[in-house]
């Protein structure tokens, strides 16, 4: 029998590991907590998700966070949740469905990967469309998967602003009368340098970084009627 570890100790240990980008330590904290009797549900909902929210809070308060921490937060959260879900007493409810990809002509995938990790940890079903995705494919896949949010990642100005990125997705949603059912979120470097750009490209929302995007998308998914 392992000594009992309090939830506060687990949260503290996990958060410190995340901020230090130390995956091994984060997993160790989780496994120690599990061995001491904490439920997989508590690990996900009281440790992992609050840690993501704390990261978002730190970002919004201009506390020092960085890309490596965002990346590790997402990767660790994704792997812990993937390990814990099969141990849940009941399968968790799907909190929303999202398709995500990089805009046509854009081959960057890191930001998208961070967002996907964060969304999966939030019980959101994510379909990764990969890179260089056409506007028509974004919409077709969203319809096919019953997604209420399309995430369009673009790391370059021309792929963010061009007609085959978010603007193209908006055009098709409009033509097909899907605007009430499917929302668009954008992210990537150009949006960090121009906070109004998301409006120019016809998106409903944007996020400064992948971890924040997870929270914004979860909110959008809740707003859209199913």
């Amino acid at each position: 029998m392992t000594d009992e570890i309090t939830i506060e100790e687990t949260i503290k240990g996990y958060n410190e590991a995340i901020f230090d980008t130390d995956r091994d330590r984060a997993l160790e904290v989780v496994h120690e907590a599990l061995a001491s009797g904490m439920t997989p549900e508590d690990i996900v909902f009281k440790v992992v998700l609050p840690a993501m929210d704390q990261m978002i809070k730190a970002i919004s308060e201009a506390f020092d966070t960085n890309l490596a921490q965002h990346y590790m937060t997402a990767q660790i959260a994704d792997s812990v949740v993937t390990e814990m879900i099969p141990k849940f007493k009941q399968a968790p409810e799907v909190a929303g469905r999202v398709v995500i990809g990089s805009a046509e002509g854009d081959l960057h995938s890191l930001g998208k990967r961070i967002v996907i990790g964060c969304l999966r940890a939030r019980m959101i079903e994510v379909t990764d469309l990969g890179v260089n995705v056409s506007p028509a494919r974004f919409v077709d896949e969203a319809v096919a998967h019953g997604a209420s949010v399309i995430g369009v990642s673009a790391m370059m100005v021309h792929t963010a602003r061009g007609p085959n990125g978010s603007l193209g997705v908006r055009r098709i949603l409009k033509e097909r009368g899907l605007e009430d059912r499917i929302k668009i979120i954008v992210g990537g470097a150009p949006y960090r340098y121009d906070h109004e750009l998301y409006k120019t490209v016809g998106a409903d929302a944007w996020a400064e970084d992948g971890v924040t995007a997870g929270g914004v998308i979860a909110g959008l998914a809740e707003e859209v009627p199913t």
Binding site: T21, D64, N66, L67, L107, L110, V157, H158, A189
Partner: protein
């Protein structure tokens, strides 16, 4: 006639010229000047050189670039597929490193200057040196060893390897990238590049935690600069902020020029550098696409007012997207010449 090199040299020495040096990083725009496609433009070093010379002459700024596009370095290491766009920079479309076995097989050319993949850059540099060598600084873009794997295997795969290991594979790749970096730096210097932009996002606390920077990134930066010397080297983190590390980088490497992020605070950077080097204040050029004339002038003035007092200051741009209207480029540059003029002191 005062040249761009005169202005840069004066700024580095902390002396006044007619105005502060103004660097404008126009790249893809060269194809538009020549009336050819980006693919055709970048196929010949002579085109790139002509584009650079034409644009510098037309707008009057102080530098020229030997950089084609960032993926060019991946081509030197075996990348054979580049994705061209009509409205933006070319990108690496086929990663040289697809799995860890490819790292062991990655070959660094013995002499980059003699490498066929360098021939057009060499030609570009030959023309630039013949036309403006010694009068306008010739800039080269060199990705730091810690950042180079991002264009060889993709940023997400590199982050995974860098932070999660295996450590021996990571270190083997970093060693190869260092070897390439040293040779590449030599090739650019031999070909006549004066300003060597050392691009390293991992040297920014926007990208890595301070602990990682201090324990991992900084020792690599120190070794990089120790291997090539700091002459002409410019510290740049790909547009990410680095005010928090300037002091230690300056102290440990002796790099004398800092090309800030548009998101860095210029006055604070100048305070940290404290006359020990040249501060380059960088405009956020993405909103330049939509800004009005007044907005552009106000922003240029704000940056110059923050950086020019006390000298040792250069005004620069970041990536200058192709979508920026020509008129806005002119407005920005005219404002930089006007507000950056030392005659303004007397007026």
């Amino acid at each position: 006639m005062i040249t761009g090199m005169d202005r840069l040299a004066a700024a580095v020495r902390g002396e006044k010229s007619d105005r502060i040096p103004v660097f404008c990083n126009l790249l893809d725009q060269g194809a538009r000047e020549l009336g050819i496609s980006l693919r055709e433009y970048y196929s010949k070093g002579a085109h790139v050189a002509e584009g650079q010379l034409t644009m510098r002459e037309k707008y009057g700024y102080d530098n020229v670039w030997s950089l084609f596009y960032v993926g060019k370095e991946a081509e030197l290491l075996g990348c054979r597929e580049i994705l061209y766009a009509t409205d933006g920079p070319p990108n690496v479309a086929d990663f040289v490193i697809k799995d860890y076995d490819d790292i062991a097989n990655l070959e660094i050319p013995d002499d980059i200057s003699a490498s066929p993949a360098f021939s057009e850059e060499r030609e570009c540099l030959r023309i630039l040196r013949a036309e403006v060598g010694g009068t306008y600084p010739i800039c080269a873009y060199i990705t730091a060893p810690m950042a180079l794997p991002a264009i060889l295997m993709g940023m997400d795969k590199w982050m995974e390897l860098l932070f999660l290991g295996p450590a021996d594979v990571r270190d083997a790749l970093l060693d190869k990238c260092r070897e390439f970096f040293v040779k590449e730096m030599r090739a650019y210097r031999d070909a006549g590049a004066d300003v060597l932009l050392y691009s390293n996002p991992f040297g920014s606390t926007d990208i890595v935690p301070m602990k990682f920077f201090s324990e991992k990134a900084l020792p690599w930066i120190e070794k990089d600069i120790e291997a090539v010397g700091s002459q002409g080297v410019v510290y740049y983190c790909g547009g990410a902020r680095f005010n928090k590390v300037i002091d230690v980088v300056l102290e440990k490497t002796g790099i004398g020029v800092y090309y800030l992020s548009p998101l860095d605070d210029i006055a604070s950077a100048k305070e940290i550098i404290a006359g020990r080097g040249l501060t380059c204040g960088v405009i956020n050029d993405i909103p330049l696409i939509d800004w009005s004339r007044d907005e552009i002038r106000d922003e240029v003035r704000r940056l110059i007012d923050a950086g020019m007092p006390g000298g040792k200051f250069l005004f620069g741009t970041l990536v200058m997207p192709l979508a920026i209207p020509e008129q806005n480029i002119r407005t920005m540059l005219e404002a930089a010449y006007e507000f950056g003029s030392y005659g303004r002191d007397a007026g």
